[in-house]
């Protein structure tokens, strides 16, 4: 049940999305959650913001084809909709670098193999500026070394040991690992009074 692929390094052009507390309702507005598959969600990534801001980065020709998203603080706060990371992934995003991430969003990204790395505030500000000036600039996310490389410059990134391990070993889809412990699951279930109707 393990994936054959891993997430060691991600390289590509980057798209800047400055601002803090960008919630999942903005990443994918609720009306596009009326679906039974994730297919086609990419068309609606940031739809409302893009309509209201013609120069929204996702509208700009120079960022089309970018694979790395650079964001501010608390990115992905709000709703738990996995439609948000799915919309980004389907749009072409392969890795996200930010100052910080909301917890459920971060977990959802990891679950679909979309690495989120954290940089400190100054480095994020520098990176946003650098890729706004030079949209052709390639950025490398190195999950293994916990680094972000941009041209000559190397930035120290943070990612928890656990998440890094999942990405490097191809075990971000937790189901496979969780399934391995069948007997222990049943043992815990039996030990919980409420599972047995508080019968003793």
């Amino acid at each position: 049940m393990r994936q054959n692929d891993t997430r060691r390094e991600i390289c590509g052009r980057a798209i800047p999305l400055p601002g803090n507390d960008i919630d999942t309702d903005r990443i994918i507005p609720a009306r596009f959650l009326k679906c039974i598959t994730f297919k086609g969600l990419e068309a609606h990534a940031f739809e409302d913001d893009r309509r209201q801001m013609p120069d929204h980065p996702f509208n700009q020709a120079r960022y089309q084809g970018a694979t790395i998203l650079v964001v501010g603080q608390n990115f992905g706060c709000g709703s738990s909709r996995e439609h948000a990371p799915e919309a980004l992934r389907r749009w072409g995003i392969r890795g996200i670098v930010g100052e910080s991430f909301a917890e459920i969003f971060f977990g959802n990204c990891t679950a679909i193999g979309l690495p989120c790395l954290t940089l400190d505030a100054e480095d994020i500000a520098w990176l946003l500026e650098a890729i706004s000036r030079h949209s052709e600039q390639e950025v490398l996310l190195d999950v293994q070394q916990r680094l972000v490389r941009v041209g000559e410059r190397t930035l120290r990134a943070t990612i928890s040991d656990g998440t890094r391990h999942q990405l490097l070993t191809g075990t971000w889809n937790a189901m496979g690992v969780l399934l391995e412990a069948q007997h222990e699951i049943d043992r815990v279930a039996r030990s919980l009074p409420y599972v047995n109707g508080y019968s003793q």
């Binding site: 601002g19 803090n20 507390d21 919630d23 309702d25 903005r26 507005p29 609720a30 009306r31 959650l33 009326k34 679906c35 039974i36 598959t37 409302d48 913001d49 309509r51 209201q52 603080q73 608390n74 706060c77 709000g78 709703s79 738990s80 909709r81 996995e82 439609h83 990371p85 910080s100 991430f101 909301a102 917890e103 459920i104 977990g107 959802n108 679950a111 679909i112 928890s160 040991d161 656990g162 391990h165 999942q166 070993t169 937790a174 189901m175 690992v177 969780l178 399934l179 412990a181 222990e184 699951i185 815990v188 279930a189 030990s191 919980l192 009074p193 409420y194 599972v195 508080y198 003793q200």
Partner: protein, 467 residues
Amino acid sequence: MADTLLDKVWQAHTVRTLPSGQTQLFIGLHLIHEVTSPQAFQMLREAGLKVRYPERTFATIDHIVPTASQLRPFADAMAEEMTVHLTRHCKEFGISFFDLDSSRQGIVHVIGPELGLTQPGMTIACGDSHTSTHGALGALAFGIGTSQVRDILATQCLALAKPKLRQIRIEGRLRRGVYAKDVILAIIRRLGVMGGVGYAYEYAGSAIHAMSMEERLTICNMSIEGGARVGYVNPDATTFEYLKGRPFAPQGEAFDRAMAWWRGMATDPDATFDDVVRLDAPSIEPMLTWGTNPEQSMGVSERIPHPHDAPDADRAAWAEALAFMGLESGRSIAGTPINVAFIGSCTNGRLSDLRVAAEVVRGRKVAKRIRALVVPGSQAVARAAEAEGLHDIFLEAGFEWRKAGCSLCLGMNEDKLTGREICAASSNRNFKGRMGSPTGRTLLMSPAMVAAAAIQGQIADVREMLP
């Protein structure tokens, strides 16, 4: 050793430590709804798996249901299709489904506690960020994404890292006209929308202790708006009293055995926390939001802030939010005209919320040109309110009395804002576009404050309108 509820519940549900360092945690109650589950069932089917413990998952339908007429098929073909899918999946995998015609349907976070499914000491998960609500009964309740819904269906487990724990103590008595909603808005204002990332919140102190279960549900509901995935209140006599006699609560002697176990799961008196924050209950006044996230809030007697009042890092965001909201810095927030008043949602759509609002509304009329809706959080809430005649009070005043669902809380059903409409809402999110219009505006407040705004046609201090 002195342990917290977090420690004890975590320990009791730990299956093993995973190679990633996360815990494989057994989930005692899994709740699902139509929006975040279809893809999970599909993934399960593709993996050729069955639901591991179908009797531990319960489904309902809330986000996409219309609240005017709920006759099937729904006018919205996609809403109908999602309903059909959920029905089929539940049948195929042997999951109990509280459908529209079951009399038990409602917003997932309203029906869990109401049916007695939610119990102290449990681990609970639902593909919805407001799952934190269930912590009010002393459970650890996690909002999750669709891949994790799949994980639970397949294994009844989640891979999770144990959060840190912050105790938030609210001491003293709330003043008249100040409610649980005001308390949680005050907490989020103080700690910020990301202050709780990585933390579980334990709510404690004399004000929390004095609260009813429904008030505690309101507090825990919005933990996630403060960034905390989990929020809980230790189980006590109020909790046990609330659960007694509910359909899925243990009955008879089993209830007594349960109570003993529940008591034992509460935080020990001398337990320690990673952090403790104190708030003074009497200092809290009726609150409402002025911006586009739940931290951007103020007391009703304050003046609309100016971006130069903001911490440096927030200045631009404040300016942007004020521009979006069309609010003028320095003016009093009271007197801001509204177009729509919404009483409902998993935050404030329970019977006690409707009672408080009805008290304000009784004998008065909704202001001209205001669209005012009351949307009960569940069919059971609707029945109870109707038995008390609350619906008549609302209807006579000019409110619409709707059927149970998420309604205007988010733009996934027929209830939406149009254009730049401004809505006084008892729900939990004032995000841009949340209520279905990309430019629509939401002011979050208590149900009593929404009722006051509906009557006045503008933001008003409910304290001046209480009987």
